[in-house]
C-alpha cells in the first residue's frame, strides 16, 4: 500500500516529547499511515496519538546529532520531538511532511477508521432535509420541498432537496438558478414561527454591467413576502465591492427591479483576509515575550476581534429584521457559501431556542454549513501555521464558532452545550477520524460515498457518555430570542481555542468541576426530596390518619 513508501523510518527509540504545561515523555516514536504515535510503554504515562492530517507544518533543527522536530498542529497546539540521530530525524520529518499533505481524499483517515464504539444512531441519517421539512410543515403550508436539484445539475453545491415557496415551480427555480452565482438560487434558511417571517440565502445575482434581470428570480423571492410588506436584502459586501462584482458578471438587486426589497450592505471580510487575520492572531498568542502594550497592539493588528464583531453585528441585524421589524430577509454575499452562512446560522442561534440545544446545533451545522455547501475541505486544508501559500483556506467556520462562543458567554445558561462542543467541532473540521467534514458539498460527499464508507461525527457525539461530556450543567431552556451585546467592550478573545495550549487551565478546570458538583448535589437533593414526598404522600393515601407537612 502507498503509505509504506512514504514512511522512511517507521520507528525510533529514545525520542523525547515536550508539550507545554505537561511533563516531558521519553519513548518510542512510531509512524503509521495516519498517525504519529509516541509511547513510553509505561502504564502511567499518556501516549501521544496525532493524526497526520492535524499537522499544519513542521520545523527541523539540529544540534550535533540530536535533531528536533517542532510539530505545529491545525488545532493550534505546538509540540516538540527530540530525535537522536540526524538521519532518523530527517526521515521522520520528510515522512510526516508527505503524510500530512496527502492530496487524495480517499486516502484520508476516515476511510480507514473503524469505530471502536457501538453506533446506536447512524449520524449520516440524523439530519436529512426531508426530516427538517417535516418540522417546517407542522408550522406552515406555504413551502414545499423541491427535488429540482436531485442530480446536482441545477446547483452543484446545494443538496438534492431544498425548501422553496409553494407557488414556485421547478422551472422557475431552474431559471432563477441561471441568474445566481454558482446556481445558488434563493432557498429557505429559517422560518420564524413567532411571526411567520423567513430568512433565505442565495448567491449574488448575475446582473453584470448591463443590469440583466430575471423575472423568475424576482417572482421567487417576492413569493416570500406578505401582501404589502417589504423585505430586506442583506448583502454581506460593501456597496463598492458589490459594484465591482458587476464587472465580473455578478452584482446586486437593483431598487428598480426589486422595489419591495430594501438592500443593506455590510462589510464582512472574505477568505484570504480572514486567513491572514488568523495567522497574525495565533502568532500574537504564541509569543510569550510581549509586553502588555505589544500584546494589545498585536491583538488589534490581527483584526480578528473586528471580524467577530462585524459578523455578530450583521447576524443581529438579520435577526432584528425578522423578529423586530417583522420582515423577511434574503442574505447573500458573492458565492453565498461563507459570510452568508455565518450570518444565517448565527441569526438562528439568536432567534431559535432549538438551535441552542446539542442536537439542534448539530442540525444547524448540517443544514447551514454542510448541506448549504460551505467548502470545508478547501477552507480547512490549512490552519494558522502553514508555510505554503494559502489557496482557498479560510477560518470562516472557526469565526462562526467564535461568534457562538461569544453569545454562549453572554448567555451561559441558555445553551444546552458547553464550550467544549464548539472546540470539538473546530478540531474535527480541520482533522478528524470521521467523514462528516470531508468534501466540499453534498454532491462531493455522495460521489465519495462518505455515508457508506466513513463514520459520521454525529454517530459518535450522540452517545450518552459523549453527550454528557458536552452538556452545559447550567442549561435551562430559554425560549426567548437572545440579543447579545456586540460592543467591543463585551467581546473577548476566545481563550478556549487561542490560549488553549499557552496556559495552564488546571485552576479553571478544577473550579468548573466544583461548579458541576454544586449543581449535581442540588439535583440529587431535589430528587430525594421529591421521592420522599411521594413516598409519604402514598402512605397518606394508604393511611388517611397520617398527615404530611
Amino acid at each position: 500500500m502507498e503509505f509504506a513508501e512514504l514512511i522512511k523510518t517507521p520507528r525510533v527509540d529514545g525520542v523525547v516529547l515536550h508539550r507545554p504545561f505537561m511533563p516531558t515523555v521519553e519513548g518510542t516514536l512510531c509512524l503509521t499511515g495516519h498517525h504519529l504515535i509516541l509511547s513510553s510503554r509505561q502504564d502511567n504515562t499518556e501516549e501521544l496519538w496525532l493524526l497526520h492530517s492535524n499537522i499544519d507544518s513542521i520545523e527541523k533543527r539540529f544540534v550535533g546529532s540530536l535533531g528536533t522536530i517542532i510539530v505545529k498542529c491545525k488545532d493550534l497546539r505546538v509540540i516538540q520531538l527530540d530525535i537522536p540521530g540526524m538521519e532518523e530525524c530527517l526521515n521522520i520529518a520528510s515522512s510526516i511532511e508527505a503524510l500530512s499533505t496527502l492530496d487524495s481524499v480517499s486516502l484520508m483517515y476516515p476511510f480507514f477508521y473503524r469505530p471502536m464504539f457501538e453506533v446506536i444512531e447512524d449520524g449520516w441519517n440524523s439530519f436529512l432535509p426531508e426530516d427538517a421539512f417535516k418540522d417546517l410543515e407542522s408550522m406552515t403550508d406555504e413551502w414545499r420541498l423541491s427535488d429540482v436539484n436531485k442530480d446536482f445539475s441545477v446547483c452543484p453545491s446545494y443538496p438534492p432537496l431544498v425548501a422553496v415557496p409553494k407557488d414556485i415551480d421547478d422551472d422557475t427555480l431552474r431559471k432563477a438558478a441561471t441568474f445566481r452565482h454558482s446556481g445558488r438560487f434563493p432557498v429557505l434558511s429559517y422560518y420564524h414561527k413567532k411571526n411567520g417571517m423567513v430568512m433565505m440565502r442565495s448567491g449574488q445575482p448575475l446582473t453584470g454591467t448591463n443590469g440583466r434581470r430575471c423575472k423568475e428570480d424576482e417572482k421567487l423571492i417576492n413569493a416570500t413576502l406578505r401582501p404589502g410588506k417589504r423585505g430586506y436584502i442583506i448583502d454581506t459586501r460593501t456597496i463598492n465591492v458589490a459594484q465591482q462584482a458587476k464587472a465580473r458578471g455578478g452584482g446586486f438587486e437593483s431598487e428598480a427591479n426589486y422595489p419591495q426589497w430594501r438592500r443593506i450592505h455590510k462589510a464582512l471580510e472574505r477568505s484570504n483576509v480572514l486567513q491572514e487575520s488568523l495567522i497574525k492572531l495565533v502568532e500574537a498568542c504564541n509569543d510569550q515575550s510581549h509586553s502588555m502594550d505589544r500584546w494589545l497592539s498585536k491583538l488589534e493588528a490581527s483584526s480578528w476581534q473586528t471580524h467577530v464583531k462585524e459578523i455578530l453585528t450583521t447576524a443581529c441585524l438579520a435577526a432584528q429584521c425578522i423578529d423586530r421589524e417583522g420582515a423577511s430577509v434574503l442574505v447573500h454575499g458573492t458565492e453565498g457559501t461563507d459570510s452568508t452562512l455565518q450570518v444565517t446560522s448565527l441569526a438562528q442561534i439568536i432567534l431559535d431556542p432549538a438551535c441552542r440545544t446539542i442536537r439542534g446545533f448539530q442540525g444547524l451545522v448540517e443544514r447551514e454549513w454542510l448541506q448549504a455547501g460551505h467548502p470545508f475541505q478547501q477552507r480547512c486544508a490549512q490552519s494558522a501555521y502553514s508555510n505554503s501559500k494559502p489557496r482557498q483556506e479560510s477560518p470562516v467556520f472557526l469565526l462562526f464558532l467564535d461568534c457562538v462562543w461569544q453569545i454562549l458567554r453572554q448567555f451561559p445558561c441558555s445553551f444546552e452545550f458547553s464550550e467544549s462542543f464548539l472546540v470539538l467541532l473546530f478540531e474535527h473540521a480541520y482533522a478528524s477520524q470521521f467523514g462528516t467534514f470531508l468534501g466540499n458539498s453534498t454532491a462531493e460527499r455522495t460521489r465519495l460515498s462518505l455515508p457508506e464508507k466513513t463514520v459520521s461525527l454525529w454517530s459518535w457525539v450522540n452517545r450518552p457518555q459523549e453527550l454528557e461530556r458536552l452538556t452545559n450543567p447550567l442549561y435551562e431552556a430559554n425560549s426567548l430570542v437572545i440579543w447579545p451585546s456586540v460592543a467591543p467592550q463585551s467581546l473577548l478573545l476566545w481563550e478556549g481555542v487561542f490560549l488553549r495550549w499557552n496556559r495552564s487551565s488546571r485552576c479553571l478546570d478544577e473550579a468548573y468541576e466544583e461548579m458541576v458538583h454544586i449543581i449535581e448535589y442540588n439535583k440529587e437533593l431535589q430528587n430525594k426530596v421529591n421521592s420522599l414526598r411521594r413516598q409519604l404522600a402514598q402512605l397518606e393515601t394508604e393511611d388517611p390518619l397520617l398527615q404530611t407537612p
Binding site: 498568542c285 510581549h290 509586553s291 502588555m292 502594550d293 505589544r294 500584546w295 494589545l296 497592539s297 491583538l299 488589534e300 483584526s303 473586528t306 467577530v308 464583531k309 453572554q410 448567555f411 451561559p412 445558561c413 441558555s414 447550567l474 437572545i482 440579543w483 447579545p484 451585546s485 460592543a487 467591543p488 467592550q489 463585551s490 473577548l492 490560549l499 499557552n502 496556559r503 495552564s504 485552576c507 478544577e510 473550579a511 468541576e513 466544583e514 461548579m515 458538583h517 454544586i518 449535581e520 448535589y521 442540588n522 440529587e524 437533593l525 431535589q526 430525594k528 426530596v529 421521592s531 420522599l532 414526598r533 413516598q535 409519604l536 402512605l539 393511611d543 397520617l546 404530611t548 407537612p549
Partner: protein, 569 residues
C-alpha cells in the same frame, strides 16, 4: 456612558430611550430621585459624587451630568434653567466638605447601641494579627518608639522591628527617611523566618549616608538566618528615583549597605495612574466604538500595563520570600502608595489567611489604613488638592480581582466583596477610611463617633461568599503563582467595577448568580429533607416496609462533593 436616568424636576419629559420622569430631592447627605411612574427611587450619596457638570440649555431643559466615584454616570434634565442652577450650586457646595465633621460617617446611625459599635471596632486587632504571624519572636519585637507619634506621625503607634535595632538606631534611621518612615516589619513568613519590611525612600541625595539606617538594614538582615542578604525593592521606575536624588532623596547605594540586593521595579506614580484610569474610563465608556479604536484606546490608556507591573512586583516579592527565604525591604517615595500595593498583594499571594474575608479585612487594615495610605487625599474626602487624588486603592482591588479570576477556588470572597469595599472607601459612611493616618483618626475620635465597615461587611458575609472557594485548595497551594503574561489578564477590563451601573455591556446571565441561587436552593432542600426524614422515622412501624431513601445524610455527600462548599455556613 449609559443614560441611566434622565428626568426633570416634577416635570414630564423624556429625551432618550432609557429615561424616566420623576422628582429630584436634595437632602443633607443624599441626592434622591423618585420615579413618578413606579415610585422607585435612586439615591446617590453626596460623597460619591466626583463632579457635577451643567451642560448648555436644550429645548427640553437643562442637562446636568453627575459623575460618581463608583463610576456611575447619571444625566438629569431639569426643565427650568433656574432650578437646574440651584441644584447645581447646592451640589457644588455639598460635595466639597471642608471639615471631617461634615462627612456622612458622623451622622450615619445604623441603630446600634454603643456596645455593638464598640464590638464592631474590635473585630480587627492588628496585635493579634502579628501574633498570628509569629511576632514577637526571638528576632522581632514590638517597639514603643512611636508611642506618641513622635518619630513618625504617619505610622501607627505599634511597630515591629528587629530585636537588635536599638532606639537610637531607629530614630537615626527615621531622620534619614522621607517623612520619618523608617524600615519596619509588615509581614513575617514564619516558615522561612523571612520578613517583609516597608519604609520610604532614603534621603541619600547624591552621596549622603546614615550609619543608623545602614545598621537597621543590617539588623533586618541578621534577623533572618536563611539568607545572607536583604532585597531592597524600590518600586519606582529608576528614572524617578534618580530624579529624586536632586531633591536630596533617592535610593540605597549598594556600596554603603554591605548586605543588600537592590532592585527597581518600575511602577509609575500616582499622577500617571490617575491619568491612566481616566483614559481607560473614557475608552470603555464610549458607545459605538469600533473594535480597533477600542483596543488601541485600551493600550494607550496603559491601565493594564500598570496592573501587570504591580502584580509582577508582588510576584517578585513573593518569590524572594517564599522560594529564596530572603527578607525584603519595600519602598517607593513616601512608602504609602506603591509600597502598600506591593506589600499587601505579596502577602495575599503568600498567605492563604489573607484570602479569607476576615483576613482580607486585616490586610487592608494593616498595610493600608494603619501604615498611612492617605485615603483622605487619594479619595478626595475633603475639598483638597486634585493632584493628590489617585486610584491607588482601586488599582489594588483590581489586582486582587485579577487574581480571583486566575484562581477561582483560592478566595473565600467573590468580587462583590471587593466592590462593596470600594463603594465604602468612597462613601465616607464608615469611619475606617477617614483621614490620612492613625494619628488623625484618633484625633477625630472615629472609634467613638463612627461605625466600622468591617462589622457591617461581616454581618452581610453571605452576600460576598465565593461559591467555588475551597480551603483544601489553599492547603495544597498555600502560595499562589499567578501568570502575568499579558493575555492572562482576563476580560480586558473589570466590568463590574467600571461598568457596574451600565449593564448593557455585561453578560446577560451570570454564572455566579446562578450558582449562588442553586446553593440557596440546596440549603433549603437540605432542611426540607431533614424534616421529611424525621417525619418518616416517626411513622408507625408498619410503614417500615417502605425503602428508606438511603444515604440522605447531607454531610456525607457534601464532603464527597469536595470540601469547597464549606466556606458557607
Amino acid at each position: 456612558m449609559f443614560y441611566t436616568q434622565l428626568y426633570s424636576q416634577e416635570k414630564h419629559l423624556s429625551l432618550l430611550n432609557k429615561s424616566t420622569n420623576g422628582t429630584l430631592y436634595l437632602t443633607a447627605t443624599h441626592l434622591i430621585f423618585v420615579e413618578s411612574s413606579s415610585n422607585n427611587s435612586t439615591s446617590i450619596l453626596h460623597h460619591h459624587i466626583a463632579s457635577v457638570e451643567k451642560l448648555s440649555l436644550t429645548t427640553t431643559g437643562c442637562p446636568l451630568v453627575i459623575q460618581c466615584r463608583n463610576f456611575r454616570v447619571v444625566h438629569f434634565v431639569v426643565q427650568r434653567e433656574r432650578d437646574c442652577h440651584d441644584i447645581y450650586s447646592s451640589l457644588l457646595r455639598l460635595l466639597r466638605p471642608v471639615s471631617y465633621e461634615e462627612l456622612y460617617a458622623f451622622s450615619y446611625n445604623p441603630k446600634q447601641n454603643d456596645q455593638q459599635r464598640e464590638e464592631g471596632w474590635q473585630l480587627i486587632d492588628l496585635g493579634a494579627e502579628f501574633e498570628r504571624m509569629g511576632v514577637p519572636c526571638d528576632q522581632w519585637q514590638l517597639t514603643d518608639v512611636n508611642r506618641d507619634y513622635k518619630v513618625c506621625e504617619t505610622y501607627p503607634r505599634d511597630l515591629y522591628v528587629p530585636i537588635t535595632a536599638s532606639k537610637p538606631i531607629i530614630v537615626g534611621s527615621s531622620k534619614f527617611r522621607s517623612k520619618g518612615r523608617f524600615p519596619v516589619l509588615t509581614y513575617f513568613y514564619q516558615e522561612k523566618k523571612a520578613a517583609v519590611c516597608r519604609c520610604s525612600q532614603p534621603l541619600s541625595g547624591f552621596s549622603a549616608r546614615c550609619l543608623e539606617d545602614e545598621s537597621l538594614l543590617q539588623a533586618i538582615s541578621k534577623a533572618n538566618h536563611n539568607s545572607r542578604f536583604v532585597y531592597v525593592m524600590d518600586t519606582r521606575p529608576k528614572l524617578n528615583a534618580l530624579a529624586n536624588r536632586a531633591a536630596g532623596k533617592g535610593y540605597e547605594n549598594e556600596d554603603n549597605y554591605s548586605n543588600i540586593r537592590f532592585q527597581f521595579v518600575g511602577i509609575e506614580n500616582i499622577h500617571v495612574m490617575r491619568t491612566s484610569l481616566q483614559k481607560l474610563l473614557e475608552v470603555i465608556g464610549t458607545r459605538s466604538l469600533n473594535m480597533s479604536d477600542y483596543l488601541v484606546g485600551l493600550e494607550s490608556s496603559g491601565w493594564l500595563r500598570h496592573i501587570k507591573a504591580v502584580v509582577d512586583a508582588a510576584i517578585f516579592l513573593t518569590k524572594a520570600v517564599t522560594v529564596e527565604g530572603a527578607s525584603v525591604l519595600v519602598h517607593c517615595s513616601d512608602g504609602w502608595d506603591r509600597t502598600a500595593q506591593v506589600c499587601s498583594l505579596g502577602a495575599l499571594l503568600m498567605d492563604p489567611y489573607y484570602r479569607t474575608m476576615k483576613g482580607f479585612m486585616v490586610l487592608i487594615e494593616k498595610d493600608w489604613i494603619s501604615f498611612g495610605h492617605k485615603f483622605a487625599d487619594r479619595c478626595d474626602q475633603l475639598d483638597g488638592d486634585p493632584k493628590e487624588v489617585s486610584p491607588i486603592f482601586t488599582q489594588f482591588l483590581e489586582c486582587v480581582w485579577q487574581l480571583t479570576e486566575q484562581f477561582p477556588q483560592a478566595f473565600e470572597f467573590s468580587e462583590w466583596f471587593l466592590l462593596q469595599i470600594h463603594e465604602h472607601v468612597h462613601s465616607c459612611q464608615y469611619g475606617n477610611f477617614l483621614g490620612n493616618n492613625q494619628r488623625q483618626r484618633e484625633e477625630l475620635q472615629l472609634r467613638e463617633r463612627t461605625h466600622s465597615l468591617w462589622a457591617f461587611l461581616m454581618s452581610e458575609k453571605q452576600n460576598y461568599l465565593n461559591p467555588f472557594y475551597s480551603p483544601a485548595y489553599s492547603e495544597v497551594h498555600p502560595v499562589l503563582a499567578p501568570s502575568t503574561l499579558p493575555y492572562n489578564f482576563k476580560s480586558v477590563f473589570w466590568r463590574n467595577m467600571y461598568h457596574q451601573f451600565d449593564r448593557s455591556m455585561h453578560p446577560r446571565q451570570s454564572i455566579l448568580k446562578a450558582i449562588l441561587t442553586l446553593r440557596d436552593n440546596s440549603r433549603n432542600a437540605e432542611s426540607t429533607l431533614q424534616a421529611l426524614e424525621t417525619l418518616q422515622l416517626q411513622l408507625p412501624p408498619a410503614t417500615s416496609r417502605l425503602p428508606h431513601s438511603g444515604g440522605t445524610h447531607k454531610p456525607q455527600r457534601s464532603a464527597a462533593a469536595g470540601g469547597g462548599r464549606g466556606g458557607g455556613g
